[in-house]
Amino acid sequence: MRFNWNLKYIKMSKWFYTFSIIITLLGILSLSIFGLNYGVDFRSGSNVDVNLTKVVTQEQIQTLLNKQEIGKEVDYTQGKERFGIRFSQVLTDQQVNNFKTSFNKELDPKASFEVNTVDTEMAQELERNALWAILLASVAIAIYISIRFEWRFAVAAIVSLLHDAFLVISIFSIFRLEVDLTFITAILTIVGFSINDTVVIFDRIRENLRFAKKKSRDDLEQVVDHSIAQTMTRSLATVFTVFIASLCLFIFGGESIRMFSLAMVIGLLFGAYSSIFIASPLWVALKGKQKSPTAGGGAAKTAKS
């Protein structure tokens, strides 16, 4: 890599703050108006995924469903050799069996099925647990960073972490992408990965602070800009490798982990972005407010370990 990464990142940060705030607002708007497009994991009902071996049209399936009187309130998603059918009612075993048998008999004898059913109460519980998981993970990570670094790093890291998680949720809401159980897993992995990215930059800031003169806010900005530039190749390389892994899963992987992979791809990009443009400037903002001119003293102390 022969690029010069020595840019004024902190000075540029107001543009990125604006960008993030706009998406966050759009996300809040979209979430409060449309909410999330919950998959069967979070909305009570049954989901039948059919793997086809020949061409079957939506009309044919609808006719089949109508004949069995389970054709009301059905959503379809059509993929390559795939057909997803969402029932808002919970199908009984009997109904599922009838459907499978008649589908095999009338439409495609070699079709293979995946059936998911979730009780409403269970779905709500899953969602609640997911929220708790994100909060608990954030708290645990904040404690760890406060011990290893200082509280300002922890605050900046957590803000950027929640920012990443929220933006992915927003994007899923805006584009009406289906949210299922694997989505939660993706969000939590993004949380873990985004913090990973932030920690690498913070580690470098902490290290550079030891030798930097820390008289003014400009000095502080310079240290951070320099640290970001130093770790930039690494950030890009890592994002590239994990991005390639998730992109391959998204393109070539099985249907049932597609939304997971998509969430990962989006989250990774936001994660790398926020570590540089949100977390680092935020830390400067917090640090710059510190009264004593010996800024960075706290960081230098903990850096001993």
Partner: protein, 418 residues
């Protein structure tokens, strides 16, 4: 010379072990039902009688009974686990008679022994007072035998002898009817006070009828009532398809990552790529040894883990490159770079482990599987892609094989004089 020799020996032995064990390892890995086909049901347990509570003992008993029922149907390797205070998760991979198994599990027949009250006496065949329930009987206590006339009879055992003695004394010469749910199976007359806690049911049963009744009594001893909360069923073809697709995705992703690492870091990149393959093998071996089940989200975590494992190498090698650029010798650059990057790598890994641990702690089912793979992945990557790769790289550097900066992907023109 000695160092380059030990490098070659280590690489050859590791490769040999991997090649030798991989086919067996891959074949004996346990696949989850989403990859093999099968179904999973999550039940919520409630007490049979209102006011009672679900104890952990009764939950475990119920789970065991469920397992026995599944085994009785001849299905291979059922996985029945209790979750929380009132849940039971049943996983069955590779089931062909799903409908049969499910209905068997879903309708935990409630067995009751009833007597007629005064009000019932007006209508013959009415028995409304419940004397004994399914959970009053000793599990698997019903056995089919033959009486003196060579007629099949079913002997049963109750847990509470005194209670049974009291009932039989009170109902002497009266009928004690046996119900399965609301269906009257038989209404034998009590012939004597039974104090030893066992009784026999006789009637004009055929051998088959007697066996079926005995089975019902045995299976009827479910201590709790179950309701389905979540179910997932995957066809075998679909599972195989998911497996193939995800593995292909993983392979393509891994190859791109390996090529990228070698292009970017040359010799250390090659070392990293080798360590990555070792990493993959170690994770599979841990899965095999630990008897973990590999699921679809698990494989996804696995593929992601490959991307994350090389992060450790990227951080280290970038640091080494910086040290080389600052004018240090290759040898001291490698030492300084490895040392300086270690703390960063550990901090980054610990934060991800924290997120994974939370997922494991709070999650259920597939989320837990994913988190487990992620944790195993990260811990293994610390071993392979930090320590093992550092060991290999050190051997190469100390053997003076990699002397030039360009072997690290650093241009000579970028090196500043000290």
């Amino acid at each position: 010379m000695k160092r380059i020799l030990s490098f070659i020996v280590v690489v050859l032995i590791t490769t040999g072990v991997m090649i030798g064990t991989s086919p067996g390892l891959l074949n004996s890995l346990k696949l989850g039902l989403d990859l093999k086909g099968g179904f999973e049901i999550l039940y919520e347990a409630q007490p049979l009688e209102a006011g009672q509570s679900v104890t952990s003992q009764s939950l475990i008993q119920t789970a065991q009974s469920l397992e026995r029922r599944i085994n009785a149907l001849g299905t291979t390797e059922p996985e029945v686990t209790t979750e929380g205070t009132n849940r039971i998760r049943v996983r069955l991979a590779g089931v062909s008679n799903e409908a049969e198994v499910r209905s068997m599990l879903k309708k935990p027949a409630e067995l009751t022994f009833r007597s007629a009250t005064a009000a019932d006496a007006k209508k013959p065949g009415q028995y409304s007072k419940i004397e004994l329930r399914g959970n009053d009987f000793v599990e698997n206590g019903a056995v089919v035998g033959y009486d003196q006339l060579n007629q099949p009879e079913i002997s049963i055992k109750v847990k509470d002898k005194a209670k049974f003695a009291e009932i039989t004394k009170r109902l002497l010469n009266k009928e004690l009817a046996i119900f399965l749910d609301q269906e009257l199976l038989s209404a034998p007359t009590v012939r004597g006070e039974l104090t030893d806690g066992s009784a026999s049911i006789t009637g004009s049963y055929t051998r088959d009828e007697a066996n079926k009744l005995a089975d019902t009594i045995n299976l009827g001893a479910l201590p709790l009532k179950l309701t389905e909360k979540y179910s997932q069923s995957v066809g075998a073809t679909l599972g195989q398809l998911s497996l193939d697709q995800t593995i292909r995705a993983g392979l393509i992703g891994s190859i791109i990552i390996l090529v990228f690492m070698i292009a970017m870091f040359r010799v250390p990149g090659l070392v990293a790529s080798f360590c990555l393959i070792v990493h993959t093998w170690v994770v599979l071996a841990i899965f095999y040894l630990g008897g973990f089940v590999l699921t679809l989200p698990g494989i996804a975590a696995f593929v992601l883990g490959i991307g994350m494992a090389v992060d450790a190498n990227i951080i280290t090698y970038e640091r080494i490159k910086e040290e080389i650029k600052s004018g240090k010798t290759i040898r001291s650059s490698v030492i300084a770079g490895s040392k300086a990057s270690f703390r960063t790598v550990m901090d980054a890994n610990v934060t991800t482990i924290i997120a994974a641990a939370v997922m494991f702690g709070l999650g259920t089912g597939s989320v837990r599987g994913f988190a487990l793979v992620l944790i195993v992945d990260i811990v293994t990557s610390i071993l392979t892609n930090i320590f093992f790769s550092r060991f290999l790289l050190n051997l190469l550097v100390k053997a003076d094989v990699v002397k030039k900066a360009k072997y690290f992907g650093v241009k000579e023109s970028d090196i500043s004089a000290l």
